[in-house]
């Protein structure tokens, strides 16, 4: 068993990054995730593993530093929160277009605009549908615990390199700021060999020069590039991850991710204790979305409630998976207000089981 610690989600990400052998972090402070950069700076990672940590002049600079470094085949990451992530949209689209691996953490806060620094899940669309321009997708991982904040750093990097695609950890202020027990992985070595088929580390005599670009002036080439990307995104369904709670005999289903899923777990326990056959499906990957399992459960249950800290975003993906088979509802509180298990239970009674 690895080392046990009580840590904030944000700190866990930072510590896990060092241990995962991440080569560089570039970021800019913003609440509620500044602890990532602060923790890293405190750890002197340049001494622990040689990891480079740099406070950039802005989120835009940070994401473009990530783009530059990622092109050299290194493991690179950044983190921010909602307004800062919006500023990274152009850069993220470039990284996806140039097919570079990297990790981006969004510790979501309430918006739109400056909004509030309280937790929210209102950046679901931005993360899963591509807030930047063009047909691209991110792999989106939604941690629901501090442990997963730590675990998804290495997992995310693995997926990023597997697909040569940016991976986003879509967390929120709740998971970022809370402390839980974390089992930390052992220190990994930083990688020393790079895939010379694409990295830009200097053109050696024994290979052609490598180019990192997302530009294709020839429409046919751009078309082919996009179709290849599309195939790649489709193939990601191999890596769908989700978790089910009490779904075996469920008559009604909650779908919730991240912090909401934690709250929903309690609601399910409570409902079960009252004899109601409620289940919970927690998507762990938001893209690829676990539509197959939802589609399957839609044959079993009488209705589904998508529970989110927003005005209704993931509910669309749930509906697309269900495709009309059973009614799908949304319950959520936007803008930094967090519902309680009781609120969810009330919503279940009103919306989901209302007709029954």
């Amino acid at each position: 068993m690895g080392e046990l610690r009580l840590m904030k989600g944000n700190e866990a990400v930072a510590e896990a990054a060092i241990r995962a052998g991440v080569d560089a972090y570039f970021g800019y402070p913003i609440t509620p995730q500044s602890e990532v950069l602060e923790y890293l700076m405190l750890q002197k990672p340049e001494e622990r593993t040689g990891m480079v940590v740099l406070q950039a002049e802005s989120e835009i600079a940070a994401i473009n530093m990530v783009y530059g470094a990622a092109g050299t085949g290194k493991k690179v990451m950044t983190s921010s929160s909602s307004p800062g992530i919006s500023l990274k949209m152009e850069g993220i689209s470039y990284i996806a277009g140039a097919e570079l691996p990297c990790l981006i953490l969004n510790v979501v806060r309430g918006g739109p605009g400056l909004g509030t620094i309280q937790p929210s899940q209102a950046d679901y669309f931005q993360a899963t549908k591509g807030g930047g321009h063009g047909d691209y997708r991110l792999v989106v991982l939604a941690p629901a615990s501090v442990q997963e904040m730590a675990d998804f750093v290495d997992k995310g990097m693995e997926l990023a390199f597997k697909y040569r695609n940016p991976v986003m950890i879509l967390s929120d202020g709740l998971i970022g700021q809370m402390m839980e027990k974390v089992e930390l992985p052992d220190q990994k070595e930083r990688v020393k060999e790079f895939d010379q088929s694409w990295v830009i580390t200097g053109k050696t005599k024994d290979r052609e020069r490598n180019i990192i670009t997302s530009l294709n002036l020839d429409p046919d080439k751009q078309y082919q590039h996009n179709m290849r990307l599309k195939e790649k995104y489709d193939s990601m369904s191999d890596d769908v991850m989700y978790e089910t709670f009490d779904c075996e005999d469920a008559e009604f289903l909650l779908v919730a991710y991240g912090s909401s899923s934690r709250i929903c777990q309690k609601a399910v326990d409570e409902a079960r204790s009252r004899g109601k056959k409620l289940g919970l499906l927690r998507p762990i990957t938001l893209f690829p979305f676990p539509d197959a399992i939802i589609s399957k459960l839609a044959r079993q249950v009488k209705g589904i409630l998508s529970v989110e800290l927003n005005t209704g975003q993931m509910v669309e993906d749930v509906m697309l998976a269900v495709n009309g088979r059973v009614p799908v509802y949304h319950y959520g509180t936007p803008g930094g207000k967090i519902f309680s298990p009781d609120d969810v239970l009330k919503a279940i009674d009103e919306k989901l089981m209302g007709g029954y």
Partner: protein, 265 residues
């Protein structure tokens, strides 16, 4: 003596460096971009650092620089080349990393990245082509467009009152403690070409010694944007651009060597 007797391998004086690819340059006839490309590759060749050199192409006419230079390169988003270069250099401190940027890229949308990379003293080289216009997108006004100069977005000439002043960003970055070598050159005449090449060489030497940012502005023509023939544009450049953007070294070995204030005001 017959020409044929002269044209023999042993008599070779100058030819295109082999570090330029065979691709035909996408630039308009007579455009200074091409000249600078050759110079950068000549220096890389002479220093024998092809294997350690990584270039960053901007968004601008030189967006395809990676098609022409036979080295590893990354294209960068508009204005962000210095951040991209920072990302690379921080992880590969022993490589030679340079950006190649236009005036729109470097001095408009990329102002923050330029200032901060210089201020951090990143050990990179910025090659800055100032042609006073946005060539790539069809001749719009740039931050460096001169007073009264016409462009497609200042069709009646740049009006200082409403459109702001020509921005001398090189004079500004020369004053930042992070820059080690800052100079302004040109490539329209053989003498200038030779000086520019020396400057590029020096910049790469500074990088080798990790002494901070080396920043080379090259005042260049954009005959398409200026709507002149190449040679007309070079004459116009001497007459109009050089008074505002005087050539010469501004900072050498970390020391300012010129009365910048005079040039600025």
């Amino acid at each position: 003596m017959d020409i044929k007797e002269i044209i023999k391998p042993e008599n070779l004086v100058h030819q295109r460096t082999s570090l330029m690819t065979d691709a035909t340059l996408s630039y308009c006839p007579g455009c200074g971009h091409g000249t600078v490309h050759h110079l950068v590759m000549e220096v890389v060749e002479e220093m024998e650092i092809q294997e350690q050199t990584i270039g960053i192409a901007p968004v601008g006419c030189s967006v395809l620089a990676y098609d022409f230079m036979d080295i590893d390169m990354s294209q960068a988003a508009h204005g962000r080349a210095p951040a991209v270069a920072t990302g690379i250099k921080r992880l590969w401190p022993d490589k030679f990393v340079f950006t190649y940027q236009g005036d729109g890229d470097l001095a408009a949308i990329g102002t923050a990245e330029t200032i901060h990379a210089c201020n951090r003293g990143e050990d990179i080289t910025i090659i800055f082509i100032n042609n006073g216009i946005y060539g790539m997108t069809g001749g719009q006004m740039a931050p460096t467009t001169l007073e009264g100069m016409k462009s497609s977005t200042s069709p009646y000439g740049r009006d200082l009152q409403s459109m702001g002043h020509p921005l001398k960003i090189t004079e500004l970055v020369a004053q930042l403690p992070g820059t080690n070598f800052v100079t302004r050159q040109a490539v329209h005449k053989p003498g200038n070409v030779r000086k520019t090449k020396k400057a590029i060489r020096k910049a790469f030497e500074v990088q080798r010694e990790k002494k901070g940012m080396s920043f080379i502005e090259i005042v260049s023509n954009c005959n398409s944007g200026w709507k002149m023939s190449p040679n007309e544009s070079n004459v116009w450049m001497e007459e109009h651009m050089f008074p505002s953007y005087p050539l010469g070294d501004m900072k050498v070995d970390g020391k300012i060597v010129k009365d910048l204030m005079k040039d600025l005001v």
